[in-house]
């Protein structure tokens, strides 16, 4: 039946009342059209009808309307403004008619909203009346009980409990109910106390506490539950300590599992506050643990013992025994889950006990239930230490293959996180770890490529001893064409390519490496990774040349070397002949080349391979790849050209030296070893007073993006420090010839990421670092010792001596605990710096921590004036400096003739200074902006003196 559409909208008519739809009618109409739209329409129609009906003067119509509205707002999420619902509800609370009253209470407790609390005072009187024991003569005791139950219900409802006035006015009405031990009143009192302690505690706390000692088990159970709720963690449990005797009495006498569970929970919170308590309760708890047949109570006892009574060995052993029974419950996943949860509550002191159940836990890794698997993984990761990490990680990786993709990656992530924790403190055998990383990358569902790639590079940088194994593992990854199709592995391959290029001198077979890096399927790689691949080829070929040339020099052979098979048709451009030729060469080469990677044939083979595969990429429309390809091809051509030129124009004796010089120079570019850089390096630079960095950087952004941002796009795989590694097209200063390199020898090398503005060509050493760069062992002996001392203490149990792991003090979580031996050494420098940068000794105090200052960051800021120009020029004209941009200028060089290396240098200098001039302009602006701080600017030259 439907309401009459002709009914006037304003007031409900008789017809409305007569033909009012009941709740059941409404539900039926809602179910008639199950579609979302149909339901929405039915709800809307019902709402408009209800809004009319609810204004009806008679209670019956109103209560049905209210009932329908409550239903719609509760289960159909009808957007009911609280007001229209709250007011009639409160109106009907006073109804003498019991069903109406009950509907009103239900509506009020379900839908009272803090926004409608202003209406609640209206209800206060009615609640008071319903709670107070003055029954109207007609109603019986049952009626009265029911009415007060309804009132308590509303009082305990969330919105009402939040109303500040209600407890104040009604707390006293609760007391007689509490005295009778009504569980309902006890529960309501707990809510009221929780909602407004200040008003309710003085009135309700004592009667509530009395209920704990009540002979009525229902009352004592409810009271225990109430105190359990009130003492829950965000609250302080201390005020409940005086209840301990009553609770103890309950613990020893109660037969109700519900009460015992609650009492145990309260004791678990009280025991840490009162040392004597644990000894008192441990016996009863153990008795319950052994006797109880109820799993819920047993579990609560286990939890209480493991969390609150860890000092009682016998109890803990008993609890763990029970927990193991839970884990062994094959037919009940709930018990297995809770058992694992319980074992996880054990502190580290009982790690050995956890080991006892290792097998059961490992078995749980294969459980069908994700909860159980996750909990087992969590537990297993909790018991990892440096002695068992190899076994556990091996076992877990074994599980990866059997798990579904999601959990497989959870496992991989957990292993990576655990092993990488605090700079690999758990890992002793890095050769093992490196091969584990490679194995992880090869697992079926591996989606952790980013982290694996990062760690591969990171381990390479930090652990010198493991580099041979790293290069071996990288090789296995690179030569596998199948991996190139998996986009999750791109970061891993990128890292492998970088490692192979960076540590190419450890490679057994560079020819194979070049083949792997240039295999056809590399076309599937994204630009950034491709660029890394090409750059790695560059490094490999440079190294091969240098070995080759060195060998020629050694043997004193006639230097009649040429890399042109047929000098006649060899041109700089890549014509098809060359491509074809090299194609043939590959066929011939393969067998002979393997024997000696540094033979003439091998070199030739590699050059041809490079020209064939990288050559087309110089037309690639991705700048990053194009740039690298140009570099590489340019270098290859240069080598060939030298031969050509030498043959025709230059005296024979000069040939080898030319080539040698070129190759050695190029080799120098890559032979500087890289060290890790603290992520916080930049942050450690104290900001000089008054220097407003933000503004200036914002201004620079436009400038940077035009000119300097290109290189930065290539570095995805190791964001914290790898930047300058791959963009290192700039020349490195030749060793031992400048004060800068002296400085580096002392302080090691640091490369900050060129994130925003710093695109400086030089890699400035950091002022204060505890990093002993591996080439400077003699100089850094004392540092090494301290580092080894630190590690030595930790690793006293390691069977195999752990290789040195480079670790920056900033990465130490307990940096304050680190030996401060390094600090005094740097103090004069940083002290001076501080004075310089801060301009006046008045500021000296403020920078106690400047011993941590990172020079480079400072330089970047302070080099904002012109005086930095001479420094750049100096470096640029350094005889040994070379840029891999060489390739772009190679045609130039040819015209210019005899001295390609030098013209190169010039060209590159031009390039750079043009790039820099834009930069400098930006910094001009910066300076103009920040001209308010004269302190920082004039001092910059002094810093350069320190550095160069």
């Amino acid at each position: 039946m439907a309401s009459t559409p002709a009914a006037p909208a304003v007031a409900p008519s008789l017809v409305d009342t007569l033909f009012q739809r009941s709740l059941n009618d409404l539900i039926k109409s809602l179910r008639a059209d199950a579609s979302a739209a149909g339901e929405a329409a039915a709800v809307a129609r019902a709402l408009s009808e209800i809004h009319r009906e609810i204004r009806a003067p008679d209670a019956a119509t109103k209560s049905v309307a209210l009932q329908k509205l409550t239903y719609l707002s509760s289960l159909h999420f009808a957007p009911v403004a609280s007001h229209p619902l709250a007011f009639p509800a409160i109106e009907l609370l006073a109804s003498p008619h019991l069903p109406h009253k009950r509907l009103a209470y239900l509506a009020a407790s379900l839908s009272l909203h803090p926004a409608s609390l202003s209406l609640l005072p209206l209800a206060t009187h009615q609640l008071h009346k319903d709670l107070s024991p003055s029954p109207s003569p007609s109603a019986g005791a049952a009626h009265q009980r029911h009415v007060s139950a309804l009132a308590l219900q509303l009082l305990a409802s969330p919105a009402a409990a939040a109303a500040p006035d209600l407890p104040v006015h009604l707390a006293h009405d609760l007391v007689p109910h509490l005295a009778r031990g009504s569980p309902r009143a006890i529960a309501a009192a707990a809510r009221v106390i929780a909602a407004s302690p200040s008003a309710a505690v003085p009135v309700l706390f004592k009667p509530l506490a009395a209920c704990l000692a009540s002979p009525d088990p229902r009352a004592s159970t409810a009271a225990a539950a109430a105190f359990c709720d009130l003492s829950a963690p965000p609250a302080d449990a201390t005020p409940f300590l005086p209840l301990a005797p009553d609770l103890y009495n309950l613990l020893t006498t109660s037969r109700s599992n519900w009460a015992l569970i609650k009492v145990l929970k309260v004791f678990a919170r009280l025991a840490p506050l009162e040392p004597r308590l644990a000894a008192r309760i441990v016996d009863p708890v153990c008795q319950l643990l052994t006797r109880s047949g109820a799993m819920s109570l047993t579990f609560e006892c286990i939890r209480t013992v493991l969390t609150a009574l860890p000092a009682h060995d016998a109890a803990v052993r008993l609890a763990i025994g029970k927990a193991k029974e839970f884990i062994a419950a094959d037919d009940d996943p709930n018990l297995r889950y809770l058992g694992l949860l319980a074992v996880g509550m054990l502190g580290p002191a009982y790690a050995s006990t956890v080991h006892d159940c290792q097998d059961a836990i490992a078995k749980s890794l294969g459980d069908a239930d994700t909860n159980i698997r996750q909990e087992a993984l969590h537990l297993i990761m909790g018991m990892v230490n440096e002695n068992n990490v190899m076994d556990i990680a091996g076992m877990l990786i074994g599980h990866v293959a059997k798990s579904d993709p999601e959990f497989a990656n959870d496992i991989l992530g957990a292993v990576l996180a655990a092993c990488g924790h605090n700079v690999y403190e758990m890992v002793v055998d890095f050769d093992w770890y490196v091969s584990l990383l490679a194995d992880m990358a090869r697992t079926l569902h591996c989606a952790q490529g980013d982290e694996i790639g990062r760690q591969l590079v990171d381990v390479g940088l930090r652990v010198q001893d493991t580099r041979p194994e790293l290069v071996r593992s990288a090789r296995t990854l690179l030569i596998d064409p199948a991996l190139l199709g998996n986009h999750f592995l791109f970061p891993v391959l990128s890292a492998a390519a970088w490692v192979s290029g960076e540590y190419v001198d450890l490679t057994k077979d560079p020819v194979e490496l070049v083949e792997a890096l240039l295999q056809p399927r590399t076309g599937l790689l994204p630009i950034s990774v491709r660029a890394v691949y090409i750059h790695a080829v560059f490094k490999v070929i440079t190294w091969c040349f240098s070995v080759y040339v060195g060998r020629l020099g050694d043997s004193g052979m006639a230097m009649d070397v040429t890399f042109d098979r047929s000098a006649a048709d060899q041109t700089v451009s890549l014509d098809s002949n060359v491509a074809l030729g090299s194609g043939e060469e590959q066929g011939i080469g393969a067998s002979t080349v393997r024997k000696d990677p540094f033979s003439h044939e091998s070199i030739l083979y590699m050059i041809d391979l490079i020209q064939t595969t990288v050559g087309p990429l110089i037309n690639c429309n991705e700048v990053e790849v194009q740039d690298r390809a140009h570099n590489l091809i340019g270098f290859v051509h240069l080598v060939r050209e030298i031969q050509e030129l030498n043959k025709t124009k230059v005296a024979d004796g000069d040939k080898p030296s030319r080539l040698e010089e070129l190759v050695k120079t190029m080799r120098t570019v890559f032979c500087q070893e890289l060290g890790p850089v603290s992520v916080n390096a930049q942050m450690k630079v104290a900001l000089p007073d008054g220097l407003i960095l933000n503004e200036n950087l914002v201004e620079l952004a436009g400038m940077v993006s035009e000119d300097d941002s290109t290189p930065s796009t290539s570095i995805f795989f190791y964001p914290c420090s790898r930047h300058s590694v791959d963009t290192r097209d700039e020349p490195a200063v030749s060793i031992g010839s400048s004060s800068l390199s002296e400085h580096r020898k002392r302080h090691g090398l640091f490369y900050l990421q060129t994130g925003k503005t710093e695109d400086e060509p030089n890699d400035y050493p950091q002022a204060n670092d505890s990093l002993p760069s591996s080439s400077n062992n003699s100089v850094n002996d004392d540092k090494l010792k301290t580092a080894e001392l630190v590690f030595g203490r930790k690793k006293s149990t390691a069977t195999k001596s752990r290789p040195k792991v480079v670790k920056l003090d900033t990465e130490d979580f307990l940096s304050s605990m680190m030996p401060s031996a390094n600090v005094p050494k740097e103090d004069p420098l940083s002290g001076a710096l501080r004075d310089v940068l801060l301009g006046s000794d008045a500021k000296a105090l403020s920078s106690q921590r400047t011993s941590d200052i990172n020079l480079e960051g400072m330089l970047n800021k302070t080099s904002s004036n012109e005086s930095s120009t001479p420094r750049i020029e100096n470096l640029g004209s350094h005889p040994a400096s070379h840029s891999s941009r060489t390739s772009k200028q190679q045609n130039h060089d040819k015209e210019k003739g005899a001295n390609p290396a030098e013209s190169d240098g010039k060209e590159q200098r031009k390039h750079r200074s043009s790039g820099r001039s834009g930069h400098r302009q930006g910094k001009h602006k910066h300076r103009e902006k920040s001209s308010t701080q004269p302190d920082t600017v004039p001092q910059a030259p002094v810093i350069q003196d320190f550095l160069l």
Binding site: L14, T17, L18, L23, R31, A56, P57, D58, A59, A60, T61, Q67, S73, L75, F77, P79, V80, S82, H97, L98, P99, R102, L103, L106, S111, H113, H146, L152, Q153, A156, S157, P158, A159, P183, R184, I186, A187, A188, A190, R191, A222, C228, D229, A232, P233, W258, I261, K262, A294, S296, F299, E300, P333, N334, R336, L338, D369, T370, N371, I372
Partner: protein, 166 residues
Amino acid sequence: MIQAVMVISTQAKPRLLKFYNFQPPEKHQDLVRSVFQLLSARPDSVSNFVKVDSIFGPGTKMVYKHLATLYFVFVFDSSENELAMLDLIQVFVETLDKCFKNVCELDIVFNFNKLHTILDEMILGGQVIETSSEQIMKSVEEIERLEKQSSTTSFIPKSITERFTR
């Protein structure tokens, strides 16, 4: 304490919602949806506990039972015992079964008020006040008896009788 009691059909329709901590009404639908997503992703014969910190706040857990076309869900915090909550769901379902004689989803759909009456006899303000299904049954029957007594007085709405007597 118990934070919420939900009965959700396998079609993701809520059949009973009761929150014991205030949750803004406009959030109810989202809560039901996220709980249902969790439930429907879990196969049968796995454990019945789910951590729901992301939905109901830190430290909260959910225990559920999947019976026929309905999920019975209790959400609770650290003051409740997991297995006891599982028992409580059993008590609730048993009571429904006794009240409706072989309860099915339709009973629950069409007995909005009675469902709340039963639940309110068992839980008040998030505290368990009664765990015996017989006791709950008795109380519910008592309430029905009282209400019948009260409603025999007038079958016809007062407004109508007024109109006719005028």
